[in-house]
Amino acid sequence: MQIMRHELLLIVITVILLIVEIFLPNTGKHKIILPAILLMAAVTIIGFIPATPGILFGGMYQSTPFTVLLKNILNLGVLIVFIQSVDWLKQDQNREKVSEYFLLILSTLIGMNFMISSGDFLMFYLGLELATIPIAALAAYERFKEKSAEAGVKLIFTSALSSGILLYGLSMVYGTTGTLYFSDIAPLINGAPLQVLAFIFFFAGMAFKISLVPFHLWTADVYEGAPVNVASYLSVISKGAAVFIFTIILYTVFYKIAELWSEVLYIIIILTITIGNLFAMRQQNLKRFLAFSSIAQAGFILLGIIGQSQLGMTTVVYFVLVYIFSNLGAFGVVSIISNRTGKETMDDYDGLYRTNPNLSLVMMLSLFSLAGIPPLAGFFGKFFLFTAAAEKGYYILVLIALINTIISLYYYLLVIKAMLLNNSDRPIGYFKSDLYTRIGLIMCVIGIVVVGFTSSVYEMIFNLGFGLY
C-alpha cells in the first residue's frame, strides 16, 4: 500500500469522482469541480509524505524516493492544470462533460505514474498508452470545433504509428535479450546492430512523446486544435513524464550503449532546438507558438540527459519542474484570454499590458523564465543543463544550444513586445479573471520566482538522482 501510494490514491479519487458523477444531476455537473480539485490537492500533499521505497510484482513495479519525487512533480503540475481549467470548464458548452475531463486526465496521470515506476517494458508500454490514448479523446474534446477533432485525429494516429514503431523496437529488444525486465535487460545490451536498430525504433517512439524533431510534427497542430488546458497538459505533464521515464530507461537499461545514444541525442538536440526555434519564430497563434517553443525546450532538456551524470539527471528533473511552472504560467494566461475573448493570436495581444497588467506580467515572467533570464527559475534550469552537457565535454553542442537561446529569446520577446510595447486600436478589454485562475497563476509565479533561489530544491533532487558514473 505504502509503496504504490500515488497510483492507488489516484485510482481512489478517480473512482470517487466516477461515483459522485453518477449522482450529480445533468445540470449540476460543474459542482464536481471543487471536490475534484480538493481531492487532487490532497493527493498532491499526501504524496510528499515520505514513502517506503520498494519493488513489487516481481520487479514490474519499482518505487524509489526518486520516482516518488517525479510523481510529486507531476501531481503538482496536474493540480495547477486542474485549477487553470476551471474557467474553461464552467463555460456552457463544456458543462456537461466536466467530470469526464477529470476522469480522463486522472487516468492518464495514473498511466504516467505507472510508467515512471515501471520495472519492465510491458508496464512501461501500458503506462505509455494509458498516458496517451485518453489525451487523444481530450484533444478532440471540443466537439463543436473542427480544429479540435483534427487535433484528435492527428494525435491518435501519430501515437498509434509511434507506438507501433516503439513496439517493433521493443520486440527486438526482447528478441535479443530474452526478457522485458529492465534489470535483466541491462547487462545483456551489447550494441549489436539489431539492438541499435531496436534502440532507435524505441527512441523514435519516445521522441514522439517528447516531441523531438523530426518526430514532432504533430505537436503544433495538436496544441493549436486542442483545448488550451489540454495542450498545456500535453506540453508539460505528458512531456515531463515521458522525459522522466526516458531518462530512467536510458540510464538504467541502455547505459551500456551510452556512447550510441549520446551520439543520437547529439544530432537530435541540434535538430530539435534549431527547428523548433525556427518554427516558433514565425508563429502567430500563441498555442502554436508555445508548441514550437516547447519543442525547443525539449531539446534543451536532452542536454541534461546527454550529460550522463547524476548532475545531468538532476538538471533534467529540475528543469522539468521549472518548465512546468513556466509553461503552465504562459498557457494559463493564454487559456484565460482565449476563454474570455476567444483571441489567440499575437496581434490580439497588442497593448495587453495597458488593459490587463497582471496577466501580462505573469506572461512576461513565464516567457522570461522559459527564455532563461535571471533571476527566474528558468535561468538556473538552463544554466545547469548547459553545465551538465559541458561536463561531458560537449562544448560545441552547448554553443549551438546557446546560439539557439538567442533565437528563442527573440520570439519570446516578440510576445512581450506585443503585450508591452505595441499599442492597439482594439486591445483586449479589461476583464477580471476568476479566483481559480488567479490561484493557478500565482502558484506558477511563485514557482518561477522561488525555485531558482532555493537551492534546496535542486539539492533534494540531486540527492535522489543518479547517473551513469
Binding site: 490514448i133 494516429f157 501515437s159 498509434a160 513496439l167 517493433y168 528478441g175
Partner: protein
C-alpha cells in the same frame, strides 16, 4: 529450428507486414483505412514477440503476454480512434485525411 521453420522467417514475415502497414499509413486517404494499417503494424509486432517467445525464450511467457496486452491496447486505441473518426464525420461529412489540414505551418 522450430520444427523446421527458422526464426528469421517469422521475423521477416513480421517485418514485411510491418512495413506494409506503414506504407498503408502513409498513402491511404480514408482515416479508417489508416486505422486498419495501424492494426497491421501492431500485428506484425505481435508475430515478432510470439516467435521470439516460442523459439528463443520458451521458459516464460513474456512475449505472449505482451502480445495479449498489445491486442487489448489496440482495441482501446481503435475504439477511441473510431469515436474521433465518427465525430469528424459528423462535422465534415467526410473522413479524408488530406482534408485535415486546417492547421499547418
Amino acid at each position: 529450428m522450430f520444427e523446421g521453420v527458422p526464426l528469421t522467417w517469422f521475423l521477416i514475415t513480421g517485418t514485411i507486414m510491418f512495413f506494409i502497414g506503414i506504407y498503408g499509413f502513409l498513402v491511404r486517404k480514408n482515416l479508417i483505412t489508416i486505422l486498419m494499417s495501424t492494426e497491421l503494424i501492431l500485428n506484425s509486432v505481435n508475430i515478432n514477440f510470439v516467435a521470439f517467445n516460442k523459439i528463443l525464450y520458451p521458459d516464460h511467457l513474456e512475449g505472449m503476454f505482451f502480445t495479449i496486452f498489445i491486442i487489448a491496447v489496440a482495441a482501446a486505441e481503435a475504439s477511441v480512434a473510431i469515436a474521433i473518426i465518427i465525430n469528424i464525420y459528423r462535422r465534415l461529412v467526410n473522413i479524408d485525411v488530406e482534408k485535415m489540414n486546417e492547421m499547418k505551418y
